[in-house]
């Protein structure tokens, strides 16, 4: 065997040689203790950010959409419903009132006279107040 001094020493103290070669495994220790856990934590937080925090934001949006759907339904069925009731009621009333239009002059004259009395009565009432 014709090994140089460093090789001889390395062969004799193999364990010590490996520890020194790997710089006492300080880098590996740091990786294990800090770097890898931090990366894992980062991935966890990324999931948290996308799912939980942004999830809450989307939940707020969905609640708003739900309210919008609710008010659309109310608009369509309740408010339009009321408007339609008024419209249809008018239509029905008009059908009845149309019959006043008899085309006979003395009917109209009677209605005018009745109207005059009504008007006078209302004016009287207002003056008293």
């Amino acid at each position: 065997m014709n090994l140089s001094a460093p090789d001889r020493l390395a062969a004799r103290f193999q364990a010590a040689y490996r520890i020194l070669l790997n710089k006492y495994y300080v880098d590996e220790l740091y990786d294990l203790l800090w770097v890898e856990p931090t990366k894992k934590l980062g991935l966890l937080l990324d999931w948290f950010d996308r799912t939980v925090i942004d999830g809450l934001v989307h939940a707020v949006a969905q609640i708003a959409e739900l309210f919008a759907a609710g008010s659309t339904w109310t608009e369509k069925h309740v408010i339009y419903g009321c408007v339609n009731v008024i419209g249809y009621g008018n239509h029905l009333a008009a059908r009845q009132w149309r019959q006043l239009q008899s085309g006979m002059v003395h009917h109209y004259a009677a209605i005018i006279v009745a109207g005059l009395f009504l008007l006078a009565a209302i004016i009287q009432l207002i003056m008293q107040l």
Partner: protein
């Protein structure tokens, strides 16, 4: 009471409206190169006006300078009141500076609807200037809201991502929600003023003017309510953790120009130092408020930094890095001492050079590889040495390496925080380490080592326009880093006035205006 120096020439009005009027003039041109040249000319004129204001600004003074005051809606006490002081004057310069760089960057990277893009950008510049220049709270609110319109279209129409419509809507709705709370807070401030003015027969009885609102006492319970209402408005915009989820979307999906504005101009934290802290000093230093906000700030620093560490997309990384940096700004502000406030103010300006600068770098990367994913890069330093060098330099400023601007600001913040509470300071320091880790790790993987598989052979280094942008930013970074005195001198007067105001509170400051009886 703050002194006011009126201006003989309405230079702030010129600064405010030059971009938007210039934007309308652009409408006349059809030739795209003509549009670009005119937009650049307008932005350069605006920069010249801003530099003029910076040069004529009296440093070491707490006075409101170049003030212009015209009644607008007298019945409601709303006025058109513009002024700059040590808190806002640097932002005016920064806005004008970034606008010029964005137009230079957009020269050949924005290819469709160039005219509309430039008009939106100039409109955005006006509204941003309005936010910084307004002293009247309603005027401020008007610009705060108007800013959303050009922002929305910039993200929606010129964004690069597939989700840009979603991002634009999310950004607008998010900010709008916050500003509704803020508007209620502003109304409460006005009502408080009204009650006080009516009792003392002071005309007018309504006012939204910052200087007048500063002169009346506000009961502590009311201050705390108003504080949280304003907080929501500013925290959504800043964004402060956990109201930040619009930011990564808007930065990733929107165009680079918009990202530079959103990441470079810290409007939310500006709101805190401009309105919340001076108007509500007793609330700002109350135990609960300080604890909650410090916790949110520290959470943002660590959360943002750890998130940035694992991001694969450079723009998403920058979004979380922004959130982390904003955490520093917030804890500096609520350290509520001279160094903390000064450091926060300087850091807000610094981020306009470093974070905004990194977004320009992201833009350079984007125009070479059509995305900013880590998998598209690797070993770029060999092919694009200039790009890699500027990337490293601006990145080191963002980490806060001594000699760059980031160091000065971050150091002052940490000093102020440690002075206020050593525990907060101790936690914040760890954020600096994470900051170095996420940037250097990303840099190593994208720029160093063997050439990435996805990197094109024909990839080109920075062309002259890009070098101009990176060099301009680097000059500012070095200037503030090596000789921050001129910048700090501009802030000092106003920061000192703010510290005094915090010590006295609203009630005491009113009493001290009255003559003291000596028997």
């Amino acid at each position: 009471m703050l002194e006011e120096l009126a201006s003989t020439f309405p230079i702030l009005t010129c600064i405010l409206f030059l971009p938007v009027i210039g934007g309308v003039v652009l409408w006349l041109f059809d030739d795209e190169d003509m549009v670009r040249t005119s937009a650049l000319t307008i932005a350069l004129l605006e920069l010249a006006l801003s530099v003029f204001v910076l040069l004529r600004f009296i440093p070491e003074s707490a006075a409101m300078q170049f003030s212009e005051h015209v009644p607008w809606i007298p019945a409601l006490g709303v006025s058109y009141h513009l002024a700059v002081d040590g808190i806002s004057v640097l932002f005016v310069g920064l806005t004008a500076f970034l606008a010029v760089l964005i137009i230079i960057y957009s020269w050949d990277t924005v290819r469709h609807q160039v005219k509309l893009y430039m008009m939106a950008l100039l409109a955005l510049e006006t509204t941003t200037m309005g936010v910084f220049l307004s002293i009247d709270l309603i005027l401020f609110f008007v610009f705060w809201e108007l800013m959303l319109i050009p922002s929305y279209f910039l993200i929606k129409l010129w964004g690069g991502g597939a989700e840009r419509h979603y991002a634009a809507l999310k950004f607008v709705l998010y900010t709008l929600l916050g500003s509704v709370f803020m508007l209620v807070g502003i109304a409460l401030l006005d009502i408080n003023y009204h009650q006080w003015a009516t009792l003392r027969h002071i005309e007018p009885t309504y006012s939204f003017d910052l200087l007048e609102l500063l002169s009346v006492p506000i009961p502590l319970s009311k201050q705390i309510l108003i504080f949280w209402l304003l907080f929501l408005g500013f925290a959504f915009k800043a964004p402060v953790f956990p109201f930040h989820t619009w930011l990564p979307d808007a930065l990733l999906e929107g165009p680079i120009g918009m990202a530079v504005v959103l990441a470079g101009l810290k409007l939310g934290t500006f709101g805190f130092i401009r309105f919340s802290i001076p108007l509500l000093p007793d609330a700002s230093k109350s135990q609960t408020v300080v604890t909650v906000i410090m916790t949110l700030g520290l959470a943002a620093i660590l959360y943002g930094a750890i998130m940035a560490l694992i991001q694969q997309d450079f723009r998403r990384l920058l979004a979380f890095s922004s959130i982390s940096h904003l955490g520093f700004v917030v804890i500096g502000l609520f350290a509520l001492n001279y160094q903390g406030l000064q450091g926060s103010l300087l850091t807000m300006i610094n981020l306009g050079f470093s974070t905004a600068g990194l977004f320009f770098i992201a833009g350079f990367l984007y125009s070479r590889q059509q995305n900013t994913q880590l998998s598209s890069f690797g070993g770029m330093a060999k092919q694009t040495p200039l790009l890699a060098s500027f990337f490293l330099f601006i990145g080191l400023a963002s980490i806060g390496l001594p000699g760059t601007n980031g160091f000065v600001g971050e150091f002052l913040i940490l000093l102020g925080t440690l002075k206020a509470n050593w525990l907060y300071g101790g936690i914040a320091v760890t954020g600096v380490i994470f900051g170095a880790a996420y940037f250097l790790w990303y840099y190593e993987r994208s720029m160093l080592g063997p050439l990435g598989k996805a990197v094109k052979e024909s990839i080109s280094d920075l062309h002259p326009r890009e070098v101009l942008i990176a060099a301009a930013l680097s000059v500012m970074i070095l200037w503030i880093g090596l000789y921050p005195a001129p910048f700090l001198r501009m802030m000092n007067g106003s920061v000192q006035a703010l510290v005094d105001r915090l010590e006295r509170g609203t009630v005491a400051s009113v009493e001290s205006d009255q003559p003291v009886r000596v028997d």
